[in-house]
């Protein structure tokens, strides 16, 4: 190896790659996406659409939790919607009990959800694959049973916060942040908070925890041999995923105002991971696609096309099969490749055609 080359190598900037073409594309795409989300959508679409996009943002944060757990660390969790329900319940209860400002409500809710998520994650230290999937799914089922019994708070006292009010419309909804009470203002607020959660996740990925997680995913013995405290970093992943899911739960509580048990079927936890896999579970872009599949597509089916959105389950099933067989990186990985292929094909046809014209002319 030449000495001069070695000298050059030391001079490479600390973050070569930050200015690389891929990252420029990513940065432009992020800015464009945020601009569309913050300005174009509220300016052009009506009330129901804006509410749907609020849900898209919230559920993409839940999917981001799966990107952390499965995409980075390789731990499968089928209980993320139950965790979302815990976040929503906690936020609702705290909102009726206290008058704390909304950002603080988010933080407290997320912290409580984080602790519960880590407790659910404890078996993950010993189990993996099918067994971990089963444990988390059963935990989700258990949460649903408990929620079914105690129901969501409706302004009463005690731990459950229930009161025997018959007239639902008489209930006060969960408080929204001051200054963001309207649907459009609240939508923007949600987009900003969700973007912050994505940023928090990205910061983790780019630093010591992200590298430790990637090592654990590759091989646990190799991670141990590399000095990674596997127990600590697995719990950390559960903590981060649960924290952001808690934030999503709090945002959801204030979005729907009067949450009910019916908003969190256990089946949604399965749909969640299916859509995350279809979108692409290895990157946060995939999480956004998952949010769209979870909330926007069913809305379009129901409100626009008047098709029962349950049919989507079949479509998701076929999509999942297709992804698992041919595109493990999901849509966000496959779509650009397919587009490039299509572009090359069109270019090839174009050249053929012009060549033929030239020859005949």
């Amino acid at each position: 190896m030449a000495v001069a080359e070695a000298g050059d190598r030391r001079n490479w900037p600390a973050a070569v790659g930050l200015a690389g073409p891929r990252n420029i594309v990513r940065a432009v795409a992020t800015v464009a996406l945020l601009a569309i989300a913050l300005f174009l959508i509220p300016a052009t679409l009506g009330g129901d659409w804006v509410n749907t996009f609020t849900s898209v943002a919230i559920y993409s944060v839940v999917a981001a939790g799966l990107v952390v757990l499965y995409g980075r660390v390789g731990m499968i969790s089928l209980g993320q919607i139950a965790l979302l329900a815990i976040g929503t319940w906690t936020a609702t209860r705290l909102s009726y009990a206290t008058n704390i400002p909304f950002p603080l409500l988010i933080l407290i809710t997320a912290s409580i959800t984080c602790v519960i998520g880590v407790l659910i994650g404890l078996p993950a230290l010993r189990l993996s694959g099918l067994y971990l999937a089963l444990i988390t799914l059963m935990a989700a089922g258990a949460v649903n049973v408990v929620l079914g019994a105690i129901d969501f708070p409706n302004g009463g006292g005690g731990f459950t916060g229930r009161t025997a009010v018959v007239n639902l419309s008489g209930l006060e909804p969960v408080n929204r942040p001051s200054g963001a009470g309207g649907d459009i203002a609240y939508y923007r607020y949600v987009v900003v908070v969700c973007a912050l959660m994505f940023l928090l996740t990205l910061v983790h990925f780019a630093n010591k925890p992200g590298r430790a997680w990637a090592t654990i995913r590759e091989s646990e013995p190799a991670a141990l041999a590399a000095g990674v405290n596997v127990t600590l970093y697995k719990l950390w992943a559960f903590a981060l995923a649960s924290f952001i899911t808690g934030v999503a739960g709090c945002l959801l509580a204030a979005e729907v105002g009067r949450p009910t048990v019916y908003g969190f079927p256990t089946q949604d936890s399965l749909t969640m991971i299916a859509t995350a896999l279809i979108g692409g579970i290895y990157t946060l872009w995939g999480a956004i696609v998952a949010g769209v599949f979870m909330q926007l597509v069913p809305f379009i089916f129901q409100a626009e096309w008047h098709i029962n959105p349950n049919f989507l389950l079949i479509i998701f099933g076929i999509g999942l099969l297709q992804v698992l067989l041919t595109a493990p990186g999901g849509l966000v990985d496959q779509f650009p490749k397919d587009m490039a292929k299509l572009g090359r094909a069109i270019y090839g046809l174009f050249r053929k055609a012009t060549g033929a014209v030239r020859r005949s002319g």
Binding site: R10, E218, S219, A226, G227, N229
Partner: protein
């Protein structure tokens, strides 16, 4: 110096390491033996993945078996695996840096140390290239860089030359020989390539069916009849 005394490992019904007493003095030391001799199991004991049934291992005077597995890297124990374990999702730089940041070395010297480890193995690719896109040879070199970054005290190499063509093996042999002098670490090399082992290692120990059958200067050990018969599968007449 690694001093192993009366080390025994038992799995249900099998004894992959049977009462082995051996010393790896300094520099680069070879550890050879036919398949199933217990070489990788020995590395796994050193890494802390396998708990021995009996025996002790002292490394530079310290009791290695007392250390929790993941803390051994911080202490200065590095290893590569038979199946390569470079992390596909991360870049070369991140692959090497992640070892460094979990070891005891100070944060300030990290970048320079990571780059000099990459430089040491002679990787031509950009340090910021993803490992997933590298060739098998380059991924091996990433693993060697991972093993030497920071302040390694013991470097365990488990068949690093497996599947490499001759010319690449020569380059690897050159690197292995330089590790003790440039990084001050003791290297234990497991490999089936006798040219590589005799080229790199002053001393060599031989395991067969979990027992130590020879140890000492490499040239002598390779002439040892018990070693030759173990390798050629000749039954001992006695």
């Amino acid at each position: 110096m690694i001093e192993v005394e009366n080390l025994t490992v038992r799995f249900a019904g099998v004894t992959p390491i049977d009462d082995v007493t051996v010393t790896f003095p300094a520099g680069a030391c070879g550890l050879i033996g036919p398949n199933g001799a217990g070489k990788t199991t020995f590395f796994n004991v050193l890494s802390g993945f396998v708990k021995p049934a009996a025996g002790s291992i002292r490394v530079f005077g310290e009791d290695l078996l007392k250390l929790v597995d993941f803390r051994r890297a911080r202490w200065g124990l590095r290893r590569t695996f038979q199946t390569e374990q470079a992390i596909q999702q991360l870049s070369i730089f991140e692959n090497v840096a992640m070892i460094h940041e979990h070891s005891r070395s100070s944060r300030s010297a990290r970048r320079a140390a990571v780059l000099s480890a990459i430089e040491f193995v002679g990787l031509e690719a950009s340090p910021y290239a993803k490992v997933g896109g590298l060739s098998a040879r380059e991924r091996r070199l990433v693993e060697v860089a991972r093993a030497v970054v920071g302040e390694p005290r013991i470097v365990l190499l488990d068949e690093p030359a497996a599947g490499l063509p001759e010319r690449e093996t020569e380059h690897l042999g050159d690197l292995i020989q330089r590790i003790p002098t440039e990084f001050g670490a003791l290297v234990v090399l497991v490999d089936h390539d006798m040219t590589l082992v005799s080229g790199c290692c002053e001393t060599t120990a031989v395991l067969d069916f979990g027992r130590l059958i020879a140890s000492g200067p490499t040239a002598e050990v390779l002439r040892n009849e018990a070693v030759i018969s173990a390798y050629l599968g000749v039954e001992d007449a006695a």
